[in-house]
Symmetry: C2
Subunit: 615 residues, 2 copies
């Protein structure tokens, strides 16, 4: 029996696999975290992988049923049905990974010509003597400028506070980190030259440690946003922040504390010191951006929802409380509006919005879902109040994407097949599971187009005054309370999905475009990467376009932040973006209410069809 080397991207995990074992078996043994709802019988498509190199067994009948000829042609296979026939390398898309493996730090490696804002130079100085009485700072600047043909003229005061002793202890030789005309850091010869890119989300914070001399991401990590203790949603945090300057300071400290923690952990991973981080970029929604900088947020919560500042900013890291190189700056890309932040700018940058031609929709699903329509040279953006239902909030048995959460779900006749995070016994349903449930109930005819739950399925029952669908019964849970989804949950989800769909509709109408003209729908962000696009289309949250027009890009805001970190051109591109963007405030838009009401209907064609009817 042959043994082959099998490796899985992007985790890089690899090991040997017998030709008699499926790729799913191999992935399980290597803890790749590959999803498998049906348990490996080939009846779902959750273990879909792509063969990047090497040969594998021929497609089975199940695969031919589930995958299109184009998909098979492109190398897509079900891992449970496929066996290695040589050494091979497989790509695992985010949606095929179980939640703990789909960390919020994913996203394509940033690719841009290396052009960091802070560059490193090696400097050798002449030691002082009675015939050469230049002060230490002038001595450094003159050697630096002469050796590297620069015209640096300043050294940050925090550097000056350590420079004299360091130059002496290093034998008049050092690495100088230069930003524009200022020295913002000094280090030993051959020290690290690091940058930090952060996507500061309301729920999660993703950090990337980047080598500014190579552009490579050395480490990536995620942390929950500790501000959650003051409310899961932005509005509760703003309400808290406006109570007192102390409260605002507290929220800032929590965010900065998390960033400092992240910097420390990332540095530990590559055995660096956080003083070796000489530049930083932080993107986030407008509220997170303002809370991090301790900017006022009162006016963000009141019409017309204005940011205190919209332009890109460069602030000394110490003025924010960020402990990196003492002279370093943190760059904050521009914001678009009160509810469309720099994370969206970063996402558009990563998605190549500036270069996109035909109509492209880019969205980042969350409590607020930012949607942009890129069409020719112009970008039009909206923010949809989609609410926290997709994060498991306001849903009877909803929960965050944690151990035991049902993350994928299929209805097979009277039975429910599901997959939980970590494969443990189910304890609730997270966002992607809820979305699947709604789609499956609609497709099975349990939900009407209007959202009403019918009593036509053995798992539907009435509890109190409302119907509910039993996903895991009391017996199946050994006597514990059943996990169900009820009529009120469905209504909550309808509001959420309608908000998103209505945002897309308004954008298309504004530009005089129809759904079918959309060339690509880019879905960014943690939640957007986990969902089954088919389910989202089935319930009418997203337009009914061929699935190959959808692209789930993971944390594109994080990718954008890294681009802005390693490339001054990308930084300039981001800075130039807001003037090109037309922001539409939905709450003030004439057609919004009726569009929103229509978008509550379920079904692929429902919303669009009704829209056509009304126009």
């Amino acid at each position: 029996m042959a043994l082959y080397q099998v490796s899985f991207e992007p985790s890089g995990k690899q090991g040997s696999c017998r030709s008699s074992r499926s790729l799913l078996d191999c992935a399980r043994r290597l803890s790749v975290g590959l999803a498998s709802i049906c348990g490996g019988c080939g009846s779902c498509h959750s273990c879909k992988v792509r063969v990047l190199s090497g040969t594998v067994s021929a497609p089975t009948a199940s695969e031919r049923k589930i995958l299109s000829p184009e998909e098979l042609e492109a190398g897509w296979r079900l891992a449970c049905q496929t066996y290695p026939a040589s050494h091979c390398r497989l790509g695992v898309p985010p949606e095929s990974m179980t939640t703990p493996h789909r960390t919020q730090v994913e996203g394509a490696e940033a690719t841009a010509a290396l052009e960091p804002a802070v560059r490193a130079y090696h400097v050798r100085l002449k030691a002082p003597s009675l015939s050469d009485l230049r002060p230490d700072a002038e001595r450094l600047l003159e050697a630096l400028n002469e050796e590297n043909r620069l015209s640096c003229s300043e050294i940050d005061v925090e550097i000056l506070r350590v420079l004299s002793s360091k130059l002496r202890s290093w034998g008049w030789e050092c690495q100088a980190y230069v930003r524009s005309r200022e020295v913002v850091g000094v280090g030993r010869r051959a020290g690290h030259h690091l940058g930090l890119a952060v996507d500061l989300g309301s729920t999660k914070i993703a950090g990337y440690l980047v080598d500014l001399s190579s552009g490579k991401t050395l480490a990536a990590r995620g942390l929950p946003n500790p501000q959650r203790s003051y409310g899961a949603d932005i509005v509760s945090r703003i309400s808290h922040a406006v109570k007192s300057p102390l409260a605002r300071r507290r929220l800032q400290q929590l965010a900065v504390g998390a960033l400092n923690r992240l910097a420390l952990d990332l540095c530990a991973e590559v055995k660096a010191k956080r003083e070796e981080i000489v530049d930083a970029v932080v993107v986030g929604n407008t509220a997170m951006h303002h809370l991090l900088l301790r900017l006022p947020v009162e006016q963000l919560a009141r019409a017309p929802f204005l940011p205190a500042v919209g332009a890109a900013m460069d602030i000394r890291a110490r003025d924010v409380g960020l402990h990196i190189a003492p002279g370093a700056y943190v760059h904050l890309p521009p914001l678009i509006a009160g509810f469309v932040g720099s994370d969206h700018v970063a996402m558009l940058l990563a998605a190549g919005a500036a270069q996109a031609g035909g109509p492209v929709v880019a969205l980042d699903i969350g409590t607020n879902t930012e949607v942009s329509l890129i069409d020719g040279g112009s970008i039009t953006s909206v923010s949809c109040a989609s609410g926290p239902a997709f994060e498991g909030w306001h849903i009877k048995d909803g929960m965050a994407a944690a151990s035991g959460a049902i993350e994928r779900l299929r209805l097979v006749g009277d039975a429910v097949q599901y997959q939980t995070i970590d494969g443990t016994a189910p304890v609730g349903i997270c966002g992607s599971g809820v979305l699947d449930a709604m789609a499956q109930l609609y497709l099975a005819g349990v939900l009407e187009t209007g959202g009403r739950m019918k009593d036509n399925h053995p798992r539907v029952r009435t509890c109190g005054e409302q119907r509910e669908f039993v996903i895991v019964s009391e017996e199946e849970r050994g006597g514990r309370a059943a996990i169900t989804i009820n009529q009120r949950d469905i209504r909550e989800l309808q509001l959420a999905k309608a908000a998103i769909r209505a945002g897309i509709e308004v954008l298309l109408r504004e530009r005089g475009r129809s759904e079918n003209e959309i060339q690509k729908i880019i879905i960014a962000g943690a939640f957007g990467s986990y969902i089954d696009v088919g389910s989202a289309v089935a319930i009418g949250m997203l337009p009914a376009l061929p699935l190959n027009r959808f692209e789930q890009v993971g944390n594109a805001a994080g990718t954008g932040a890294r681009l802005i970190l390693v490339s001054l051109s990308k930084r300039a591109e981001a800075r130039a973006m807001p003037p090109r963007i037309t922001y539409i405030e939905l709450s003030a838009h004439a057609n919004f209410t009726e569009t929103f009401v229509r978008a509550n209907y379920l079904g692929k064609e429902a919303a669009a069809a009704r829209a056509r009817k009304t126009n």
Copy 2:
């Protein structure tokens, strides 16, 4: 009997004076603080004043004896001998004031074309609406730039932290304070527009509050430097600072604390808030400069005595711990060497060094005495270790210039005439008194040229192993210990005066100039303003030039700091000064030791004569 209005400059004090009362009487009644050693009998010249306008009585015989015809011609008179004959305005030179009135904040009002680094603009903004969604910061910048044809592009983050609520509470109208392209402060319409100039001395700190819209000094104040608790001299403070980072921080906190206190007191005087101070300039010697910024000082105490940085600096006030407008900067003019600081640069600026043609000597006497020789386009500088004797330290009965200190002294036959600060009973001798004593003893033949005290005067006695001269005897003090000056005091003073004289000699030699070629000797600083120049010449501390070539300019460093505060051209002039200056490190200078030894001799001609002999 006629009544006339009499006013005294620079204090501005005025009142009516009968034609039968002398100007000295009038000055006493108005608390002008005019000196009077002989008690008003016309035998000394300590109450010398200058008639600026109006007519007065004709000169008396005493005046004709004491004042030269040129002086009389120029309006100089003895206040005790002069009576008003009309309303008149009188100028009181610093040397004619008693010490408490000669505060260390004196100095000519800065005069330069008004051109402050931070300018004030009134801005009226359009209130936001759903059809005008510009963020608050952009709204301000656009209105500011449009109304005033500026191209501001930044607002400091500390301003942004308050801008949104302030703009709303002020009805979208404000005063914006702009530095280069950045808004560093905002205030109510018609708020103050203030600048702070500080001369940070080792002993005293002088602060000036300047109206940047008019260039006028609104208030001036002095404070003792609280770092004195860690040593009167710079070297002890450096020794303390290098003990630990905590010690360095403590010394910084003391200096910054005093500056904050000064800002608060100055603002209280004019009913302003310290947040209305939008720019600051601090000058000081190199050690004070470094301790204020918490820069390393180890290398200042070891040959070759290098500053950590020499160039002019602009630092956010908050990075120094200075509580003025939250976005304000503090400007620190350049340093010349480890022992020649920005106070000397400021003094040279105030003295018009750039414009001075013929050889001019400018010096600031202190523990370290900085001396510059301005000759044609070039400036040559030295720092002389003159020690603390002139501040009353290391002198048996020496004391600081405080209440009861003998500040002026004359020997009349066997008697000693003296004047104490506040006119109270004598408790000791301060610097100017010590200098007078030495000169009077030398002129009376009690001191030999070499400094030995002879036993040829009834007030000379031997106490223990050395001779001493009794200034106030036990009987004269009603049984308390006598106030004396002994041989060891004389030796200490010789070292001090020799250091200064040797510095001047080295400079002249270096430029190939002789004493007689010196057109002007500018004496700056607190001590230098109080001394009797005649005494300083008598003992050979200063060259024997006609007295009208000496100019006592008060706190010229403070005047220079104010010039740098109100004028960007003066700031540029100060910045350009160090490259024009040749600094000579005396300890490494070939001829220094012999020059110094020679300069120990007393007498007007002694040092010079011996110098000529040797050459």
